[in-house]
Amino acid sequence: MKAISEIRADFPILSRQVYGKPLVYFDNGATTQKPQCVLDAVDKVYREYNGNIHRGVHYLSDMSSEAYENARETVRAFLNASRKEEIIFTSGTTGSINGIAFSFGEQFIKSGDEIILSRLEHHANIVPWQMMCERKGAALRVIPINNNGEIILEEYYKLLSEKTKLVAVAQASNALGTILPIKEIISAAHNINVPVLIDGAQGIQHGTVDMQEMDADFYVFSGHKIYAPGGIGVLYGKEKWLAALPPFQGGGDMVDKVTFEKTTYNELPFKFEAGTMNYPAAIGLARALDYVEETGREDIAEREKELLSYINERMTAIKDVIIYGTSSKKISTISFHIKGVHQYDTGMILDKMGIAVRTGTHCAQPVMDRFGIEGTVRASLCFYNTKEEIDKLAEGIEVVKSMFA
């Protein structure tokens, strides 16, 4: 296992200070920091071989096209997808879900159909489906959650019916950290031939993800949450589904033949990649995934498990701290509230101590409504965080309590 000092040295930003205090970065659920090797990979594209992909006949275009296609292969291998054609680059999780919601809606959804989501979803996995339902006269059905912030599987089974056309759930909740029982969710849907989309935005970076084992029909994630640059994401889809769906955007590179009378589309995966894709970020994503492999996905998961158990221990010991999301199966994210202190006040003061957390509803208002709260403070950790940083958070909370008492 790589030493923590070695890991932290891989991320230049982690050694900086804010307000004269060492940075404690606990907002990894929003975005992760980037290792030097990713910064170098993107820098190299622009310095050495920048050219538009799939278009030029010239040397640079060839080089960047090749690097971009290699990046697709890296993503395929990382996900253990069967085929490279099943990997579509997008702008991120939101872009991926909007795309599928549009194409799936156009092709398969009619009035009276139902889409099942969970109460734990991020707005990105609610609003696109809502928009599609409004367009098609379909309806959303929502799997409820219990007081621990876990979905209630029995209720999910009851929601499944002949009206169900698709199930879309998160791999893990961004607001509470709960890991969802996706195996059970997928197999129950497949029993009645309903496809499942898994929103992997909070799952991909925390352990091993294997498409052939998971058997999801669609799996989406964002690069920037797994140490890659912003503006790149992935849409994995089983070939049988992607082949059956119409494109969600029209433009260059996604076409086979264009006349004003009719356009025929390019083959997979290009059918879904209209216009110039963010190829430097895709190349950066591939480097990030390689970095994760080099560091060891199991080691990363192990470290994060230890951090989660330590932060749980420290936080539960602080008087007046209420933790939301108390499932035994969680990613290294903890959502909490200090009794009598507004989460915005907590976040502002922690910030001045150099501690970056997120406050508010975390783009998951239905979760907040379920607990009857306006928002929480969220500390989302990843493998480069340390127990010493958790101690600083605990001390910071005591300071906040004394200031607002």
Partner: protein
């Protein structure tokens, strides 16, 4: 005191503190001391909703001066609300409209007014000016 004299005195008060925590302690005190808004105004009509914190703002115009009362659910936001009230309450619409609001920048609280912060403060500043413009237009109509 003129509006700018009030702004300058706020800047001076904050300049006594180098440490961020001290500045925020001062804001918290100001927030705690903000006179309470009449509960009948703490309703949706006077709510400025941000996704981080909420602000309630109520204007009262006597034909010459606008008196603002306000509140927030977060104390730091309330502290800044208190500063804005001390600058802009009991002023004529013309004074408010003509203000160059520079004190927030000078005391280093600009991040609290960024559009992405969504704590309701930026909208509050806009709303206060809008009220001033509306009252201004109304009194000119009556002339």
């Amino acid at each position: 005191m003129t509006i700018n004299e009030v702004q300058d005195s706020i800047i001076e008060e904050f300049s006594l503190f180098d440490d961020w925590m001290d500045k925020y302690n001062l804001l918290i005190d100001l927030g705690k001391d903000l006179p309470v808004i009449d509960p009948k105004y703490k309703i949706k009509d006077f709510l400025i909703e941000g996704c981080q914190s909420k602000v309630w703002l109520h204007p009262e115009y006597d034909g010459n001066l606008i008196t603002f009362t306000a509140d927030s659910d977060a104390i730091i936001t309330r502290g800044i609300v208190a500063l804005l009230i001390s600058v802009w309450s009991k002023r004529t619409p013309d004074e408010i409209i003509g203000t160059d609001l520079y004190f927030i920048d000078k005391i280093g609280l600009r991040q609290n007014l960024s559009p992405t912060r969504s704590n309701g403060l930026l909208s509050m500043v806009r709303q206060m000016k809008l009220y001033a413009m509306a009252y201004n237009a109304k009194s000119k109509q009556q002339l």
